[in-house]
């Protein structure tokens, strides 16, 4: 180049050559030998294949074992369709309820100082450590025919147990923590500075939430809703205890799987299982995309 002549010759020493970037496969002192590495990976993959891949393949293999026609035939049964509807209805009530709760709880816990906060956090997590069957049992004890509320409810024609309201309530119970647990660490990290700035500029509480907080937490919120929805759709133990499993009425998809399976209608049971498995795979896919694309907008523990 023409400009070369203008650059004084400073006799710069040869730039030191950087060592080549450490390839993961190259043995270094902080890596195992190729044999050990192969052995560890084999153990891990065999374990995952045995416990994740094979059960997943089994669901699809069994559902289509009598052909595609038999699979679709399941959904001409009115009980199967009713189960799909019931599942969507229960989920459509339980998930929004827990979204509102999760946002309110996260707002209270992360934007304010008050005593006994750790007790409140433990309470929010409590449903995770209660067996689903026990969750169903406590609602039967509270609202069942033998309870002290039972006669009053019966006299007013309100049926909670062995009916939809009970199924919705236990579904809410088992999925209470999901949204709150995603939002609390995220909003804790984000602090209150942006909201306080909005406040000094005269924004109302609702405007602060909608224009400042919500954009900051939207991906974390979606993440929590995803997990909450998966649990609500798939809950079996708690719902089974309070539903009474009335075919076509109080059977959700997991309960209908149980009914079919016990009647040796294996293809029908696995056909419904395929729908739930596809929904689970979709959940995992969206969750993974959120973890890669929006890592900085999820709570620290969710970043990979």
């Amino acid at each position: 180049m023409a400009d070369d002549a203008l650059i004084p010759d400073l006799h710069l020493p040869e730039p030191r050559r950087l060592p080549p970037p450490r390839s993961p496969a190259a043995p270094t002192v902080v890596s195992e030998g190729p044999l050990a590495r192969a052995a560890i990976m084999t153990v891990a993959f065999l374990f995952l294949a045995l416990f994740l891949v094979l059960p997943l393949i089994t669901i699809f293999a069994e559902a289509f074992s009598k052909g595609v026609g038999a699979f679709f035939n399941t959904f001409s049964d009115s009980d199967a369709l009713a189960a799909v509807k019931t599942t969507f209805l229960v989920t459509a009530i339980a998930v929004p309820a827990n979204i509102v709760f999760g946002i309110a709880a996260a707002w209270a816990v992360t934007k304010f100082q008050f005593p006994l906060k750790s007790v409140l956090l433990t309470l929010i997590d409590l449903p995770f450590s209660v067996s689903p069957v026990v969750a169903g049992l406590v609602y039967i004890i509270l609202f069942g025919a033998q309870s002290s509320l039972g006669p009053w409810l019966a006299a007013h024609g309100i049926q909670i147990i062995f009916a939809l309201p009970g199924m919705v309530l236990v579904t809410i119970f088992v999925s209470v923590p999901f949204v709150a647990r995603e939002l609390i660490p995220l909003m804790q990290e984000q602090g209150t500075a942006e909201e306080e700035a909005a406040l000094t500029l005269g924004a109302s509480g609702f405007t602060i939430f909608r224009r400042v907080t919500l954009p900051n937490i939207k991906w974390g919120l979606l993440y929590g809703v995803l997990l909450c929805n998966a649990r609500a759709m798939g809950e079996f133990g708690a719902v089974s205890v309070v539903s009474g499993k009335i075919r076509g009425e109080t059977a959700t998809m997991p309960l209908q799987i149980d009914i079919y399976y016990n009647e040796y209608a294996s293809v029908a049971a696995f056909s419904i299982a395929v729908l739930l498995a596809l929904s689970a795979l979709l959940t995992l896919a969206i969750k993974a995309v959120l973890e890669w694309r929006f890592a900085n907008e999820l709570a620290a523990g969710r970043r990979h």
Partner: protein
């Protein structure tokens, strides 16, 4: 009017912060938790207190109940142990090694969280049944898995699988490899470095994952009942016995078992929190 004054006085005394919505958000949170979580649990406590200590003792020491509790807690312990070992290996592979489709494998680890338990249950039962793909193979060796306690263990390993991986993975990723280089320059073999340098800081995370997997496994119902066989005294888990008592309208019996399970679960929750606190302190000191 009185309530408003009370709230504002309370607010001034608490001095929670300047943002709006303190009363509304905390009030709603407490009301919701109170109605959904605390009220039903209180009903259980009241029902249990009606039984009296002797009544509870009679239920808790009934041989069939004792057998089911032993089975539930024993197999949950073994399954959590298996998950602790393999969970660390899987986390190690995901953090330290590169391989094709790594992101897919990483995402797949959460499958047991996303897949409904009843779906997992019928799938595992079919897979390990005497005529199933894996049941046929183990059958050749004379080992029956489905409809035995081993089947329960398989189901509990499945549902507990993500816990240890997900608690260990971030801690392992944050470990600085410089300390391993230091160990190596000081002459430690790779094996010694891993067991003496890498594993110790992972122990709180492993224990937390173990406790979470254990707590989940103890109360698990959906994935177990299809593969368990459900023979009293042999393969009947405690949650199933609660369901059986409920179906026989024996609410006292169901309440008694539930109370024992809850007491042990609360203990586990306490231990988990303690372990996490210990882990944090260790981290802060480091």
């Amino acid at each position: 009017m009185g309530a408003t004054i009370g709230l504002s006085t309370l607010r001034r005394r608490l001095n929670p912060g300047i943002l709006p919505g303190f009363g509304l958000s905390l009030g709603f949170t407490l009301l919701y938790l109170g109605l959904i979580v605390l009220l039903p649990l209180a009903a259980l406590a009241i029902k249990a207190s009606g039984l009296g200590l002797s009544g509870l003792w009679a239920i808790a020491t009934d041989p069939r109940v004792v057998a089911s509790l032993k089975l539930s807690f024993g197999i949950a312990l073994i399954a959590a142990g298996i998950n602790a070992v393999f969970g660390v290996i899987v986390a190690w592979v995901l953090v330290r090694y590169d391989f094709p489709l790594k992101r897919v494998v990483d995402a797949a680890v959460d499958l047991p969280f996303a897949l409904p338990t009843a779906v997992a249950g019928i799938s595992l039962a079919t897979l390990y049944a005497p005529k199933g793909w894996l049941g046929q193979i183990t059958g050749l060796a004379g080992i029956k898995i489905a409809y035995t306690p081993i089947g329960i263990g398989i189901a509990l390993v499945f549902i507990g699988l993500p816990f240890v991986v997900r608690t260990v993975q971030p801690v392992l990723a944050d470990l600085e490899q410089e300390i391993e280089e230091a160990a190596a320059t000081l002459g430690a073999s790779r094996f010694t470095t891993i067991t003496r340098v890498v594993l110790p800081p992972l122990i709180p995370a492993i224990l937390t994952g173990f406790a979470l997997a254990f707590a989940r496994a103890v109360g698990e119902y959906g994935s177990v009942i299809f593969i368990a066989g459900n023979t009293p005294f042999v393969s009947e888990i405690a949650p199933l016995l609660i369901v059986i008592k409920l179906e026989g309208y024996d609410y006292a019996g169901a309440t008694g078992i539930a109370l024992v399970m809850l007491a042990i679960s609360f203990l586990m929750l306490l231990v988990i929190n303690l372990l996490q606190a210990l882990g944090r302190r260790r981290f802060d000191r480091g």
